[in-house]
């Protein structure tokens, strides 16, 4: 038995350390297409002190550490590329505090989106968080660490913009508080008016520390919610539609989707417009504003509102939308992956066209999706492909297509979201040299032994 195994057992207890083949196999991969790589150990801590001890242990002989939530980025961000220890954070799942008046919550680093959503529904029915469309097992901390997006992205931006503070175990084992919580008992600001240090961790994909607590903004939850779907067969019109809709400031969430099958959807671009209200009057007022904003386009017969069948609504209004996972099995193979660059919405038409062309080139089933971030400040555009896990050839074609589309998107103004290793490399080639040098300084100073999720954002 290795020394490190004994030490890990000493820290978390034998039950929560594994070096068995089964755990090493499972924790060596995620549901996407990235190459697997086995860790030497998987460990599941329960407290921040245990994480601290693990980090100190790893520093002794520079053992890589990979903090993991639910491994649902699909882009291999928690694959232990250089072996070492995978830290499964999900035992740290406590919801520590809700401040109803200040609309915020403090959770441990392994708390799942689903558990928080359900907890708020049962205990604070007038509050909500910006739940992503990812499955409910995905964790809050991992989501902000990748600049995740949720249902409130159009109103309030990236989920990482909603952070009110962090507790982070630094790569040297120091437990560090970030934001107002660093000098106050209250978690209400991740930075301002202090120097905003949250940027040292948000978006770094776990390469600069392990997030052990997250403070998160909550938002009013209206009593009613509905959805309208505006359809156009002109991709060129989508940016204008989004501009008009965001101008109303009446919309909760806007997403766009298009796909080739079933045939009734082919050639159309569907804009899902979610609206909320505390009363029928509020809802109807917003609906009228939304309809009026697209009056001209409707008048020109360039698009119109689709009749949303009542039986479609529960699924469309569900959060998370379980049927999205069903899409993974379209090819009877349980696989889906997407590249999701962030870009200005005026690139929507060229991205959409390129997705269709690339799918045709590789003969793979596609779907396009986009979510508006802010008041049309940006768009997450997802190039989505399903694949059959039992068909290596199809998996290879999907991987090539995704890589090609990521490169295309970066060449047309986009930046990567939760990038694969290949996308990170492409991004590093394109990021300004001085910016890369700054990233290097940050990384080298925070993690001189290079133990944190090595292989990712590797700017050396």
């Amino acid at each position: 038995m290795s020394e490190i195994y004994k030490d890990l057992v000493e820290i978390v207890g034998e039950k929560y350390v594994s070096n068995q083949k089964e755990e090493l196999y499972f924790y060596s991969r995620d549901p996407g297409l990235e190459q697997s790589h086995e860790p030497e150990y998987v460990v599941a801590p329960k407290t921040v002190e245990q994480i601290q001890k693990i980090v100190k242990l790893a520093n002794k002989d520079h053992t890589p550490l990979v903090p993991m939530g639910a491994a649902l980025s699909l882009t291999g961000l928690v694959i232990p590329l250089k072996g070492g220890i995978v830290i499964d954070m999900k035992r740290m799942k406590k919801i520590l505090k809700v401040n109803e008046n200040a609309r915020s919550v403090l959770v441990e680093g392994g708390t799942s989106q689903g558990v928080l959503k359900s907890y708020l529904e049962r205990n604070y029915p007038n509050l909500r968080h910006s739940a992503p469309d990812a499955p409910p097992a995905s964790t809050i901390a991992a989501n902000v660490a990748i600049h995740g997006l949720g249902r409130l992205a159009q109103q309030y931006g990236f989920n990482s913009d909603m952070v009110t503070g962090l507790e982070v175990v630094l790569p040297n084992g120091v437990i560090c508080k970030i934001g107002s919580c660093s000098m106050s008992p209250d978690w209400f600001s991740k930075g301002p008016t202090l120097p905003d240090l949250s940027g040292l961790f948000l978006g770094w994909l776990g390469t600069t520390g392990i997030i052990s607590k997250v403070g998160l903004k909550l938002y009013p939850k209206k009593r009613m919610r509905d959805v309208e779907i505006f359809v156009t067969d002109k991709a060129d019109l989508v940016p204008e539609i989004l501009f008009r809709l965001t101008h109303t400031e009446m919309v909760e969430d806007i997403s766009v989707w298009f796909q080739e099958k079933p045939i009734m959807f082919q050639g159309n671009h569907h804009v899902n417009i979610y609206l909320t209200g505390d009363t029928e009057e509020e809802l109807e007022f917003k609906r009228k504003m939304i309809w009026d904003s697209l009056k001209e386009i409707r008048g020109n017969k360039d698009g119109g509102f689709m009749w949303v069948m009542p039986q479609m609504k529960p699924d469309l209004l569900a959060s998370p939308q379980k049927s999205i996972v069903g899409f993974a099995d379209l090819k009877k193979g349980g696989g889906v992956e997407y590249a999701g660059p962030i870009v200005l919405s005026d690139r929507y038409p060229v991205y959409a066209k390129r997705l269709q062309d690339t799918a045709n080139k590789y003969q793979i089933a596609y779907s396009g999706a986009a979510r508006v971030i802010g008041r049309n400040h940006a768009l997450m555009f997802a190039f989505v492909f399903t694949f059959n896990r039992a068909d290596p050839d199809m998996m290879g074609r999907v991987k090539k297509a995704l890589k090609e589309l990521a490169a295309f998107s970066f060449d047309h103004g986009g930046i990567p979201w939760k990038p694969t290793i290949d996308e990170q490399k492409m991004a590093i080639e394109r990021i300004d040299t001085d910016t890369i040098n700054l990233m290097k300084i940050v990384k080298q100073n925070l993690d001189p032994n290079g133990i944190m999720n090595p292989g990712n954002w590797e700017v050396d």
Binding site: Y27, P31, D88, V115, R122, A137, G326, G334
Partner: protein, 385 residues
Amino acid sequence: MEYEEIAHRCFRCGYCKFTDDYQDFNCPSYVKFEFDTYAAGGRMWLINAWLNNEITTNKHYAEILYSCVTCGNCEKQCALEIKDDLLNIFEAAKSELVSEGLIPPPVRDYFKAISINGNPYKEPQNERGKWAEGTDIQTFSDQEYLFYVGDVGSYDEGGKKMAKFVGVLLKEIGLSIGILGNEEKSDGNDVKALGEKWLFQQLAEDNIRKFNEMGVKKIITLDPHAFNAFTNDYPKLGGNYEVWHYTQILAMLIKNKKIPISEYRVKVTYHDPCYLGRHNDVYNAPREILENIPGLELMEMNRNRENAFCCGGGGGNFFTDILGVGEESPSRIRVREALDTGAEILAVACPLCSKMLDDAVKAEGLEEKIKVQDVAEIVKQGFKI
């Protein structure tokens, strides 16, 4: 392996771990062990890896497969088309381990006990009917219903008490029932869940032959596990009977005012047995019984009906105990959840749940605060006769 053509279709999204409102993890083995390998998605990926020769069978792999208590939560919550076959896939994978002889020792011992003794307790067959001593319940001849009690109802002390309560109650309310007594055999439900399909087939065929020879047409079961086997598996082998769980019969009779019940002032929460609830959609009957007892206040646990958290005794784990003991064992978690409702009684409708939860109450030191009682025993408290 059976079902191998669909074993690769799991996305490992994790829906299978949750209740339908995501309030908590609801997969007993995942809750106990807390590595993803112990959830349904983990098992799916490991089985697929085994089929692709990426991993080989070993003790740990077997422990992971056998830690599944077949509660069926994953099948209810899975987001994919393959959801209805998840337990079939796990059963098939366990069958492969049985064929290879790589099963955990407690599972081997369970199979051996059943094949040699006809019951997992290694007790003599001629003591199987002892639970009915002192009652006037007769051996089945031409009665309307066969009252089938199963292994736990026949040999476990708590199970025997429950069998007696239910049997006597059914007699007292005038139902025509008979039992097999020392002639009864294991129903095989958990043998099948543990992957010993040949032993299951043998047990089922023997039972079907006996039932048919005796002219059995209608069966009332004490045990939801037997109810499941008779309802869903025996018909595939030619055994077609009208099968009732005793709570369904009681609910029907209470609804038709055939059972006079007096007031019983007590706060009760009800634990849904997986093989009655999730496996067979019987959620209302036990509740209808309790709700019809004047003065009884039924308080639901957060996780109830389709979202009920298993006691940990399903899928043979009652006998094999792969999940083991400790504060995080499902039965102890469930008892704490029951206590949170403010109930004084944790009502059960399964002899396995009864034993698991009763032991958990003792382990938690809660004997003064909550007690585990079978639905029939509660009915009996308010029974006027």
